[in-house]
Symmetry: C5
Subunit: 355 residues, 5 copies
């Protein structure tokens, strides 16, 4: 994840507005999906539209959602930009997938960029994808890097003629897209929360050297999510405050709901960070405890055997006139002495609380 | 407690306003308790009311407190919502028990959500329950997840005809409910304070490996309480500033008192956090100290016996022409040497402050 | 000190305004001391007044200072409250000794609550007492929990007819009381500063296990003082900004002086906290250093004797055909070998910087 | 890098406006490069201009970029200052290369100072150079300490008649210079990010004593970059907010883009700092882990051999009447005992999880 | 340095305005130096003036700088106060050398108090001295605790008739004094920076127990300087914002320059603090590393000799029927075994990376 600044460096010295896609190619072909509908019940879905179909977006009577998957074909995106009359810097921003989440208000449309987080089950990692949303009076353009399924429930709800979605304009559609993306964050938080719980158990009960690696990895993930949700707060906050005329008063109530969710996500991420920040210290303490246990065993065994080995070594000497060598019960007496010394030492350790 | 984000994830893709209760079912049946009263002395209590009894809440002459315990019957809550003409998102919020404490002002009512903390004696844990309060001109609706006794003293005070409660409107009733919940936090703080004191003693005098677990658990509880009281400050603060017309000037003085208590709770929680944040380091130091003690004993015993064991081993050799083997007083001389070496070493350790 | 939240919990469920003294009884009998004076030279002191003498406080011509020591007689305090027409919540606040320092402005008077810190020489601890001050147009009421001597110099200055105190009104008297309490904080800081200096020396030169206890205790004391002086800043700050009409322009210059002192106290406490926060780490380092020393001695002694003991053990064997056993100078040669090995090892340790 | 305050000290006591260059001389001769152009296609480049050529800068019809490399010739810079009528303090600031990045708005021009960071491949260090930019109505003066190539792509773009650069005024030229410098920061971030990744791996897999040095060095570099980019945010932010009339509305969109980049750089640097702050603790943990491993081996070997060596020493004694000395199978029995003891101990260690 | 709060405590209970000098007497006799000048070339210097000479300060035509060295003669300072009509609290503040740096604006003059830091070469410590500056329309009064040379360059510049100083009023003189004091801070930063660099090297390459002491001492010094420069920012900031009419518009540009320097000092101090805060951890790591090295040597030597000493002890036994005792090549075989065991162990340690 640290690589984002790397790809960026390729652009140095180029003129502003030069179009370069800095992400990695995720799908083969750019795909356009268009959904066109109005309150009167008109509904049309083109899941694999051509560039000519974009004309519907400019139709003032219906609400059109144009979803573009795949950003590697810069010329294609540029054409869409020209078609919708977008500022060159904005097209550049859509292609630059290292953007901070933010909201920009233009004369005819709102530009909103945010990160979509997806949980990759196979390698237990978080996949980050940038989504750019352009909200016009009668259309919503959404650009995603790959082909995702997270908008499918939304498409199904649009199919339902009675749904609120069909009866509202592009602002409510934009809200629904934002809501879907933000709600998806909860899935990620759930995964992180589970990992954190497992990690806490592991750290306290069985700290292994590779636990260290897991802690640092999780901490870094949390730092990154924090980096993505903090600016989101500001962006959605601006929307929810109603500064932007495109959004209807009734939709604002829903946007405020999304804002509430973003705050809640920030809260959870902060809580996670608070918890993980102590884990390393606990790990250190756990390791110290384990070492302590080992030390104690060494001390006890060594401290008991060192004095009695001295005794046996003493009577292995060849010095003359050692009176003990003539005592007939010297050997059993020695064993008594050995057990006495061991007993006294064990008692001492017991009293010190080392056993 | 980390599981809150989990249940939330089930809602992804659903339309806003879809009613799902995300908490766990705590009681068998939803119970409605209605208390209806006015200044003239009218007083009626229905501890197990039916949905038809709600009509009293709309009666403009009396103040009505409707307390709903249990939120698992979403259809039932939806009916109440329709009855009192609540916004669909608000009904959804009442059912969603992962809300951050906050206050929302609508045209006809105020919506306030906060957490009720209860101390569970049996497993020494804090139970968290969400309470939603709707304050209208002539009624107060309170929604709690389970059936609790903490409102009983309040009910008794309402029984008392002379009490201030009976002579004021719904705003003072709302204040009394908030005050009861906030005052309950002090009980939790008391428990935490006791635990913290016990933990501090334990860490310094007898740090055990499981102390680590207790520290982390307590720290997490404090992080969670912090998460619940910080937004409460803002919510009660907005009430106390008098922006909301529903609240009478005389009641505001009391609300400011609750606000003062919330600040005091935040202060205490911060203090607790300040104290616990150092405990882990102290634990580490304590464990180091203990290890040090063990090391010292090992050093002293080993260091005294290693040289004298060398001596005895020396005179166990079978080398020819060892002059000492022919000295008649070699054995007593050796003992003198042994005591001399031990004495010098003990003195050295004493001087270094290791004994 | 952690017990403050405990006593508080007893009030849960009681109506607001119910009078309960949450502190501990410090003196036998509530004592009232009244000082009555004006610019014209009138001066009267009643060191043990009865409740009837309070009437002077309402006298518009003279300035009256009524100091009440002891708060356990709630009925008595309630009577004073009725006499001076105080809000029930305010009387409750006077009795509740867990208040945060703050300032409240009412129509006819200002209510100011703050903590008086006193150094208890006998057990080297800080005693905390709450002082409530009510400042009216012609009177100042001060409530303290016990009987203290810290106001004595103030009484003596009042005795002096020429003093500024006698020539100003109740606002300057209130300033003088605040100034006396705040100045007393410097005594506490002095004690803490001395303790901190002693602790720093101890930690670096001779860290003992109980040093840990002292660090934690001092840290907690500093956290508590911080908790008391931070809100004081706000309270005195509000006074000094001149928002409150009761205070004369000339007195404000003096109040700003007190404010300056409070800032200075906060500065010092922050500095203390900055210093103590590093002490635990230094303690850990000191203990590590000491352990290191012990380890070194063990290593050196053990490492020297282990090889030479091997040698002596070697020649204690009873194996046949050991050529050394037939060498006539084997014994002196062995000693040479022993000294050689020891010398080489000592040189090696010297070179590694371990000696 | 810590030396910046040193050179500064030489100025103490000197009058304000006394010209001293506090940096180190980086190139032999001060070089002036002038590029003069207008929208009509006029373009002239003087890569090694004399001071007389400066006159073009005052020409109102064309936009002139005067780039001065090398600041050691204070008299020369003073002459430029006099020529463009700059305040003496400003000329002093241009020469003082210890400035914080900032923006100052004067009547006729804007003064902007910032740091240029360059990656030195040979010694893997960051080179810091101060750049001062003076933006007038028809000219841009840029002062750099050495001769750099980073403006070369900019010069090439100016050569292109169709480019936006040629068709805009001095404000867009200033933007392009700022953009070039800020974009260069991404290169540095890329290097730091790579170093950080390598360091993280090293710390966890193979912590060596010199890793410590690398961590501290990297941390210091990040602290310094933070010190340079934080004030940059404010400076560019002021520009982008449009307070300064010199900048055209169309150029502001581009300046806001630079501002966005600065924010992104700050974000990355903060992230880096968050990650590195935990590395030292991880290093400590890694070292502890390694020590633990060593301790375990010692314990196991020592604990197995100490008891059996006691046995062999026992039967080396010369005491009379030792019954074992007469058992014919004593020796094989002893070996059985030795293997038994070792086996039991190994099993015990296995069960404790130490193997 | 921690003693500042101590001397302060002596004032408790005294009336405001009671004059006590809380610092230590630094010079024998209070000295007054007066410099009187105007734009027309008039210049007079009295390096040892009497109190009667103060009259010049009230002369409206010339600018007079009165510098008082030594504050122990409180009566003398009081007389100056009466002469210039200063508020009693202000005179008290001049004598109280525990003030926080701040700026106070009165009707006729500005009072500014700040700390002068001086490097004491002999004991490598920072000497702190309080300087109070009173800026009137035609005079500047400066009070310093001792006799310093740091104003000498300023006096020389005043001697120069052409200098800007001589041609401006008291505001520019005040600026010059402030600038001299603030510039002196850079000298201190230079010393601290050098100490910090030396300390960093020491910590990583050769951590000694007394390094700990140096770290804590340096950290405390940085905390103190931080305490002095933070409020200075506010004080100079207020001056530079031009709220104070005494300062001419042209002088303000210079004051803003001083402000810029103060910000730069704060930046450097923060950077120093960031660097030193990690040093203790690095010290701990360094010490751990060293201990690790020692442990390794012990492990290797002990682990090699323990098994082979067991072997020699084995063949020292007197048990019957030991077959090895009859092998003619038992002894050389034993040596082969000894080298084999040692070799295998050394190889094992090598493979584990312990050698």
């Amino acid at each position: 994840m640290l690589k984002s600044s790397k790809s960026r460096a390729n652009k140095i010295g180029k003129a502003a507005g030069a179009l370069v896609y800095v992400g990695e190619r995720r799908i083969d072909k750019v795909r356009i999906a268009i959904i066109d509908y109005d309150k009167e019940g008109f509904f049309q879905e083109l899941s694999n539209a051509s560039i000519e179909d974009l004309a519907r977006g400019k139709n003032d009577d219906t609400t059109t959602w144009i979803n573009i998957s795949g950003l590697h074909d810069t010329e294609f995106i540029a054409e869409i930009g020209r078609y919708f009359n977008l500022h060159p810097l904005l097209v550049e921003d859509i292609l630059n997938t290292d953007q901070r989440p933010r909201l920009e208000s233009y004369d005819d449309y709102i530009y909103c960029v945010l990160k979509m987080l997806k949980w990759q089950e196979e390698n237990a990692a978080i996949e980050i994808e940038q989504v750019s949303i352009l909200i016009g009076k009668t259309y919503v353009l959404s650009f995603e890097e790959g082909q995702d399924d997270i908008f499918n429930p939304l498409r199904q709800r649009l199919n339902n003629e009675q749904g609120r979605l069909r009866n509202c304009g592009s602002d409510y559609l934009a809200y629904a897209i934002l809501d879907t993306i933000v709600d998806n964050y909860f899935l990620i938080l759930e995964q992180l929360s589970e990992q954190l719980e497992r990690l806490e158990d592991e750290v306290i009960t069985s700290p292994a050297p590779n636990t260290l690696d897991t802690i640092q990895k999780l901490k870094r993930e949390i730092i990154y999510i924090q980096k993505f949700v903090w600016p989101l707060r500001e962006a959605i906050g601006r929307l929810s405050r109603g500064d932007i005329s495109l959004f209807d008063q009734h939709t604002l109530i829903y946007v405020r709901d999304v804002y509430e969710h973003v705050i809640q996500i920030i809260d959870s991420v902060e809580t996670f960070r608070g918890i993980i920040s102590g884990l390393l210290e606990i790990y250190l303490s756990s390791v110290s405890n384990k070492m302590n246990e080992i030390m104690k065993v060494l001390t006890i065994i060594a401290t008991i055997f060192i004095p009695i080995t001295f005794l046996t070594s003493l009577y292995g000497m060849n010095l003359p006139n050692m009176p003990e060598l003539n005592w007939p019960f010297a050997y059993p007496l020695l064993w008594i002495l050995i057990f006495l010394i061991s007993g006294v030492l064990l008692l001492y350790f017991k009293r010190r609380g080392w056993l």
